[in-house]
């Protein structure tokens, strides 16, 4: 395409750049676009999971039994990369407990359960009319408190993205691509509420003063494009001048953040980097609309637009639904009848990147952009995988320029180093490779497995490194302590010897100096005494604790040891049979210690006499 442009002599910056790879799965979007976005009715119970975003799990700030109002914060962000959660409606907190949540693991996590009172009473709100009236820090705090996360599916906390250094960011990329088949939540939003998206752009622009704002939409959404164009005429000219609406051919995964950046600007996000490294911010249209809600109306993220689709559902379309609504009731509302003849398959997200839910009774979360319930005809179960025939189709379609089959071999043989050197972590898990694989190998699962294993191994290695340091530090400490003890002992022995020598020499000096025999006898006696006392002290130091104890100290110790023995014996008598053995050893050890102390006490008078 770009070559054609070059041949025509068209040297202007192109409308869009061609990224490598990609696939064209059947779009299946029309069935959910027949009607307008429907409001989903209020329910009796809402389950709000505490980890609806990437980052630290938020911390509940309500207690069981507490009444909450719609939009009230019920869990606060825990750390920088985190987001608060809000009550989707007014009611009472009935429990804070682990519940299953939509996650490929099928595991449970902490959730706040709210029984609705049916009134949907809002907490007091303070709408803002003009952004200019408020300071940026207030604006950021308002965004932070609104619990916004990226609504495109990845759920990265929006406030964190919007905290990027404003001096380095000059471009806003608005992602209206929605390249994944079946999903039409963003499409419906752009079609029905384009002004809301533009108001969200206005908020971001207020923070960053963008040089240019690029809205990217695939060419399969002409009605959304015309709605956006109409809405663009109604905004201030200053802002409108910076906005470019770009339409490009439909191809999966043009909506991937990195692919979209390249599509619109021809620049590549550095490996392992973020669009901000290129001075760009990338936001989904849904996120921007929610941003406008949060800032102007003081309405935190308590609902979202979700697509209900798949031919197993009699009613297909988009609904605006409160977060925490039970997915089962949503599906029942859409008239879902499970097919008794085959395994149930409900996919959260689209057919390319979504995951199958293992049950229906799960809360709808911030990331739920679509609930897809396909029939066997429209999305057949993949046939059993065959061995890879190295056909290279996966490589042709990989939008990241990776070698998917090589990565698969490495994952299979657990060669993590090689997988990493083949840029495993640049894989965006779009699934294009697995889509075209003639052997139907679950390639993406291999990458996820490899990534998870590598991350776990890295964490384990960090931990073992810490354990090694702690072990070495402890060994060093023990050695030091032993050395110090030894030094002290030697010092004392030295001192004692000096004292003895003094005692021995003093009488010699006093007695008649002329008698050599007496002097010799005295010297030998002194030597003997000195060695004897040194030996005595040495034996004393063998027993742990204090080596140089006076009689008083020894008897005090004896008393305390006897008291402990009494207690221990009493405990032994009362102990449960399974603890008896341990107590017995304790008692016998105490007895031994007492015996030792008694002996020492018995030794002491002789030497001190």
């Amino acid at each position: 395409m770009n070559l054609m442009r070059l041949l025509r002599g068209d040297t202007d910056a192109p409308e869009w750049y061609d990224f490598p790879g990609g696939v064209h799965p059947p779009e299946n979007k029309t069935q959910s676009l027949r009607g307008p976005i429907a409001e989903f009715p209020l329910q009796e119970e809402y389950v709000v999971p505490l980890n609806q975003h990437i980052g630290a799990v938020s911390v509940p700030v309500v207690e069981v039994g507490e009444s909450v109002l719609t939009g009230q914060v019920i869990a606060e962000a825990a750390g920088f990369i985190s987001a608060p959660a809000h009550a989707p409606t007014s009611g009472t907190v009935t429990a804070i407990e682990d519940r299953p949540v939509p996650h490929p693991s099928g595991l449970t996590t902490g959730c706040i359960i709210i029984r609705a009172d049916g009134h949907d009473t809002w907490r007091p709100r303070t709408p803002w009319a003009h952004l200019q009236d408020h300071h940026h820090t207030d604006l950021l705090a308002r965004i932070q408190n609104a619990g916004l996360t990226g609504l495109g599916g990845a759920s990265f906390p929006t406030a964190v993205k919007l905290a990027a250094d404003r001096n380095h960011v000059d471009t806003l990329i608005v992602n209206g691509t929605e390249c994944e088949p079946y999903i039409t939540a963003d499409h419906a939003l752009m079609r029905e509420r384009p002004q809301q998206i533009l108001r969200g752009i206005e908020v971001a622009h207020e923070l960053y003063d963008f040089r240019r704002i690029l809205i990217g939409v695939e060419d399969n959404k002409p009605d959304a494009v015309s709605a956006l164009r109409r809405a663009l005429t109604a905004i201030p000219a200053e802002l409108e001048a910076r906005i470019e609406l770009r339409v490009f051919p439909t191809r999966y995964p043009s909506g991937g953040e990195k692919q979209l950046v390249y599509l619109l600007t021809g620049q590549e996000v550095p490996a392992g980097g973020l669009p901000t490294d290129l001075g760009m911010l990338c936001h989904n249209v849904g996120t921007l609309a929610a941003l406008a809600d949060a800032v102007f109306d003081d309405r935190p993220l308590i609902s979202r637009i979700t697509t209900l689709t798949g031919n197993q559902l009699p009613w297909q379309g988009n609904i605006e639904v409160r977060l925490g609504t039970d997915i089962r009731t949503i599906l029942d509302w859409a008239g879902y009848q499970p097919d008794p003849n085959r395994a149930e398959r409900i996919i959260m997200g689209g057919p390319m990147m979504g995951f199958a839910l293992d049950q229906r009774q799960l809360p709808l979360v911030k990331a739920t952009n679509c609930l897809l319930v396909p029939t066997e005809q429209e999305l057949p179960t993949p046939p059993p995988a065959k061995p890879c025939i190295r056909c290279g189709q996966c490589e042709q379609v990989c939008p990241a320029g990776l070698l998917p089959q090589q990565l698969m071999w490495f994952a299979q043989s657990h060669e993590w180093d090689k997988a990493e050197s083949h840029h495993l972590f640049d894989c965006i898990e779009c699934g294009a490779c697995a889509y075209v694989c003639p052997s139907h190998i679950p390639l993406v699962q291999y990458y996820r497995f490899a990534k998870g294993s590598i991350r776990r191994e890295q964490a384990e290695h960090r931990q073992s490194e810490r354990a090694r340091l702690r072990f070495e530090a402890r060994q060093a400490r023990l050695e030091r302590e032993a050395a110090e003890k030894e030094a002290r002992r030697r010092q004392r022995a030295e001192a004692a010897r000096a004292r003895q020598a003094e005692q021995a020499t003093t009488p010699t000096a006093d007695s008649s100096p002329a008698d050599p025999v007496a002097a010799a006898v005295a010297r030998s006696k002194a030597r003997k005494q000195a060695s004897q006392s040194a030996a005595g002290r040495a034996t004393a130091t063998v027993s742990p604790g204090a080596p140089e104890l006076t009689r008083e100290q020894l008897s005090a110790r004896l008393d305390s040891q006897r008291r402990r023995l009494e207690k221990a014996e009493a405990k032994l008598a009362a102990a449960a049979p399974e603890h008896q053995k341990a107590m017995e050893t304790t008692v016998s050890k105490l007895r031994e210690q007492i015996h030792k102390t008694e002996q020492q006490l018995a030794d002491r008078p002789e030497r001190e006499a």
Binding site: P104, Q445, Q463, S464, A467, A473
Partner: protein, 194 residues
């Protein structure tokens, strides 16, 4: 005459190569033994002593001196594999006499039963137990290597080893099972033929 020349030639060659060997042994003397550090880096540093050596580093030294690489139950198969790759030897199955590979564990003190004897503190190789004499002790779970050395010394048996449970945060995808292994004709006949 031929014999003489042959002997002379051989002697000359011997002298020449002898000198070369002597020079090489001085010039290229290996310094230290970094292989021990590399082995130590692979070992899981639980310091549990199950290998029969007091700590991971002594075992690393023993491996460098030719000890089998299959004596580390906490490291398990993956450590054996890594060691085999590093040392270019055949990976052996784990020697069961040294224990068996278990999922990662962490020690937990049942705190109301603790009598504050400090014995577990002395036993812990990585100082992961906090407490003082006659005070209740507790395990710093993030530092515990799961070596279970603290379990035996406890006079009142109040320490449990519990497997670390997978949470949503630590969970990750497992490798796909090749489908042809799931097909009925294979049932009960796992593995490759030799």
């Amino acid at each position: 005459m031929i014999i003489l020349w042959s002997i002379l030639a051989l002697l000359f060659l011997a002298a020449l190569f002898g000198a070369l060997l002597g020079y090489a042994s001085v010039r290229f003397k290996p310094e230290g033994d970094p292989i021990i550090d590399q082995i130590d880096d692979i070992l899981p540093q639980t310091q549990c002593g199950q290998c029969g050596y007091p700590g991971c580093r002594p075992y690393a030294e023993a491996i460098a001196n030719g000890d089998p690489i299959n004596k580390c139950p906490p490291g398990g198969e993956s450590t054996i594999q890594e060691l085999a790759d590093l040392l270019d030897v055949e990976p052996l199955p784990l020697d069961a006499e040294h224990g068996e590979e278990k999922p990662k564990q962490v020690a937990i003190i049942r705190e109301d039963e603790c009598i504050g004897c400090t014995k577990c503190i002395q036993a812990c190789p990585v100082d992961a137990i906090l407490g003082a004499a006659k005070q209740m002790h507790t395990v710093i779970a993030s530092e515990c290597t799961g070596c279970d050395l603290c379990v035996d010394p406890c006079p009142v048996d109040c320490i449990d080893m519990v497997p670390v449970e997978t949470s949503i945060q630590t969970w990750h995808w497992q490798a796909p099972q090749p489908d042809y292994k799931l097909i009925a004709t294979d049932a009960g006949r796992s593995g490759e033929a030799a």
